[in-house]
C-alpha cells in the first residue's frame, strides 16, 4: 500500500516536472538541462526553512518555488542576453556547480542528505496517504491547466509565433528575450514546487536524487508524451514512472531488473524518436525538429 502510494505521488511530481520542463524546452524553445537543480532548490529550501525557522509548510513550499524562480533568472538573464545556445552550456555549469555546493555545505546535510523534514500531513496509515496523493495530483492538474492557459490566448499566440520564426517575431516589435526569461522562470518555479511536494512527503532528500542524469529522464517523458503539447508530458510521466514499476511485479531477480528498466527507458526514447517524433499526443511535426518549410533557414543562408 505504502509502495503504491509513493508510486502515485512520484507520478504526480514527475507530471509537474515534465510539464514545467516542456514549458521551457517545448514552448520556450530553450535548451536547458538544469531542471533537476530547480527541483532540488525547491526541495532543499522548503526543507531547510521548515526545519530551522519553523514556518508553516505551505509557506516553505512557496519559498522553495520562489527561490527556484529567482535562481533561474540569475541563470537565464546573463546567458540569454548573449545567445540562446549559451544557455545549454551555462545550464550544465549551473546544475553541476550548485549540486556540488549542496554536497559540500554542512547546513544542507552534505552528501548524506537532509533528514527530519517535517511532513505536510502525518503519513502513517492509509487515509493521510490518500489525502497526500489527492493533493499532489490536484497540484499536477493545476499546473497542467495553468500551462494550458498560458499557451493559448494572447500570450500563447506570441509563444507560437516565437517558436515558428524568432527573427520575424522580433522584427514585429516583440521582445523575445523577455518572453524566454519569463517562460524559463515560470517553468523553474513550478519545478521548485514539485521539490517542496517531494520533500514533505519523503521527508529525506539527498543530492544524488537531483543529479544531471535526471534531466534525461524528464526529457524522455516530454519527448515520449509530446514536445510542445499540453497533456503529453504528464502522459509521458505516467507511462515512464508506472512502466518500470509494473515489471517489478514480474518478480525477476534484481540483477536482471535494473538493466531491464534501463533498456525500457532508452528503448522507448529510440522507438519514439524514429517512429513518432511528435510524441503520443502531438499531431504535427515536433517543433524543435527542422520542418519541410525551410523559409527561415533560407533567409539566414542568404545573408
Amino acid at each position: 500500500m505504502e509502495y503504491a502510494a509513493s508510486v502515485l505521488i512520484l507520478i504526480g511530481i514527475f507530471a509537474i516536472l515534465a510539464t514545467s520542463f516542456n514549458l521551457i524546452i517545448g514552448y520556450g524553445g530553450l535548451m536547458s538541462i538544469a531542471h533537476p537543480i530547480f527541483f532540488a532548490l525547491g526541495a532543499y529550501t522548503s526543507g531547510l526553512m521548515t526545519i530551522h525557522f519553523n514556518i508553516p509548510i505551505v509557506a516553505g513550499m512557496l519559498c522553495g518555488s520562489a527561490v527556484a524562480l529567482v535562481a533561474s533568472i540569475a541563470l537565464s538573464l546573463p546567458s540569454l542576453r548573449v545567445s540562446g545556445d549559451y544557455l545549454v552550456i551555462a545550464s550544465i555549469g549551473f546544475q553541476l556547480g550548485l549540486l556540488q555546493i549542496i554536497k559540500n555545505l554542512d547546513w544542507t546535510g552534505g552528501p548524506g542528505g537532509l533528514s527530519n523534514i517535517p511532513p505536510l500531513i502525518e503519513t502513517v496509515g492509509w487515509v493521510p496517504a490518500v489525502v497526500y496523493i489527492a493533493i499532489v495530483l490536484l497540484c499536477a492538474l493545476a499546473v497542467i491547466y495553468f500551462v494550458k492557459w498560458l499557451v493559448s490566448g494572447d500570450y500563447g499566440r506570441a509563444i507560437t509565433a516565437m517558436r515558428d520564426d524568432e527573427e520575424a517575431f522580433k522584427a514585429l516589435g516583440r521582445n523575445a528575450v523577455t518572453m524566454k526569461i519569463v517562460l524559463f522562470a515560470v517553468g523553474s518555479g513550478l519545478a521548485g514546487l514539485a521539490g517542496g511536494l517531494y520533500a514533505h512527503y519523503f521527508l529525506f532528500v539527498t543530492p544524488e536524487q537531483f543529479e544531471i542524469l535526471y534531466s534525461a529522464g524528464m526529457l524522455t517523458m516530454v519527448v515520449v508524451g509530446g514536445l510542445g503539447t499540453v497533456w503529453g508530458p504528464a502522459l509521458g510521466a505516467i507511462l515512464l514512472e508506472a512502466l518500470p514499476q509494473a515489471i517489478n511485479f514480474l518478480k525477476l531477480p534484481s540483477s536482471i531488473m535494473a538493466p531491464l528498466q534501463g533498456i525500457l527507458f532508452t528503448g522507448l526514447v529510440l522507438i519514439f524518436l524514429f517512429t513518432r517524433p511528435q510524441g503520443l499526443v502531438g499531431t504535427r511535426a515536433a517543433p524543435l525538429l527542422p520542418d519541410d518549410n525551410g523559409d527561415a533557414g533560407a533567409e539566414v543562408a542568404m545573408r
Binding site: 500570450y155 499566440r157 517558436r163 522580433k170 516589435g173 520542418d291
Partner: protein
C-alpha cells in the same frame, strides 16, 4: 523637417565581403524610394542593418531623428519601423488573422503581468485589434483568408498577407524587400495601390525590387547599389538609361 529614416556613413563587412560601404540615405514622410542593383549589391543587407537584424560596423541610423544604433530589433520596430522579408516569413502555425494580431507596434498580450492584472482591458483591446487586422486584410482584399493558415495560400497571397502584417505597425517607416517577386495577376495591382495609399498617409517607404517597371511606376527616385556602395541616385528613368549602370546590373 527631419527625415523619417536617415542613414549616415553606414559601413558593414562580413570578412572580406563589404555589404555597406559608407552608405548615406535619407527618406522623408510620404516618399517612395526604390533600391535597385544586381544580386549581392547589399540591398537586403541594408534593410537588415536598418532594422537591426545585423549590427553595423560604423555609421549611424536615425529614425525620426532618434539614433537607433544601440537598439535591438524589437526596439526599432516599436519606434515605428516595419519590414517585410524576401522569403515572406509568415508564422505557419498561426492563422492569417493571428499573424496580423501579433504584429502591432505594441502588443499588450506579450506581458504576463498585463495578462493577469489587466485582463478586462485586454479583452477590449483585442476587439479593436481584430477590427484593425481586418482593415489591413481588406486593403489587400484577403479578408476571407483570415481563418486559414499561410501554407494553404498561394505564394502571391502569402506576399499580400505579409504586406498586411507589416502594415499592422502603425509607424511611419516601411521597408519592403522584393514585394513583387513571384507575384502575378490581380495581386500586382493590389500591392501597387496599397503602397501608394500608405505613402499618401505619410509613411516613408523603401522598396528593394528587381521588377523595374514596378519601381518606375511607384518611385519618384531610386538609388543604385553595387558592392555595398550607392553608385548613383536619380529618377528611375535616368538610372536605367545609364549604360554604365546597365553594365553593372547585367554584367558585360
Amino acid at each position: 523637417m527631419t527625415p523619417v529614416i536617415e542613414v549616415v556613413d553606414l559601413c558593414k563587412r562580413f570578412g572580406g565581403i563589404i555589404v555597406a560601404d559608407h552608405v548615406h540615405l535619407a527618406l522623408g514622410a510620404g516618399e517612395i524610394v526604390g533600391l535597385i542593383g544586381p544580386n549581392g549589391a547589399g540591398k537586403t543587407s541594408l534593410f537588415n542593418l536598418i532594422s537591426g537584424v545585423v549590427a553595423s560596423d560604423a555609421g549611424s541610423i536615425y529614425l525620426n531623428g532618434t539614433p537607433v544604433n544601440g537598439l535591438p530589433i524589437h526596439g526599432r520596430a516599436r519606434l515605428g519601423l516595419s519590414r517585410t522579408w524576401q522569403t515572406i516569413r509568415l508564422f505557419p502555425s498561426l492563422t492569417v488573422l493571428d499573424n496580423l494580431l501579433i504584429a502591432p507596434r505594441l502588443y499588450a498580450g506579450e506581458s504576463l503581468t498585463n495578462l493577469v492584472l489587466a485582463h478586462r482591458s485586454l479583452g477590449r483591446a483585442r476587439k479593436e485589434l481584430e477590427a484593425r487586422a481586418f482593415q489591413q486584410l481588406e486593403k489587400v482584399r484577403l479578408a476571407d483568408a483570415a481563418p486559414r493558415r499561410p501554407p494553404e495560400l498561394s505564394h502571391g497571397k502569402q506576399k499580400l498577407v505579409s504586406l498586411a502584417r507589416a502594415l499592422m505597425n502603425d509607424g511611419n517607416c516601411l521597408l519592403l524587400d522584393e514585394p513583387m517577386a513571384g507575384v502575378e495577376g490581380p495581386a500586382y495591382e493590389a500591392i501597387k495601390e496599397v503602397i501608394r495609399a500608405e505613402a499618401c498617409a505619410g509613411r516613408a517607404i523603401c522598396i528593394v525590387e528587381h521588377n523595374i517597371s514596378f519601381v518606375k511606376d511607384l518611385c519618384a527616385w531610386a538609388v543604385f547599389m553595387f558592392n555595398g556602395r550607392i553608385v548613383s541616385t536619380g529618377t528611375v528613368d535616368t538610372l536605367i538609361e545609364n549604360e554604365e549602370l546597365a553594365e553593372l546590373y547585367f554584367g558585360r
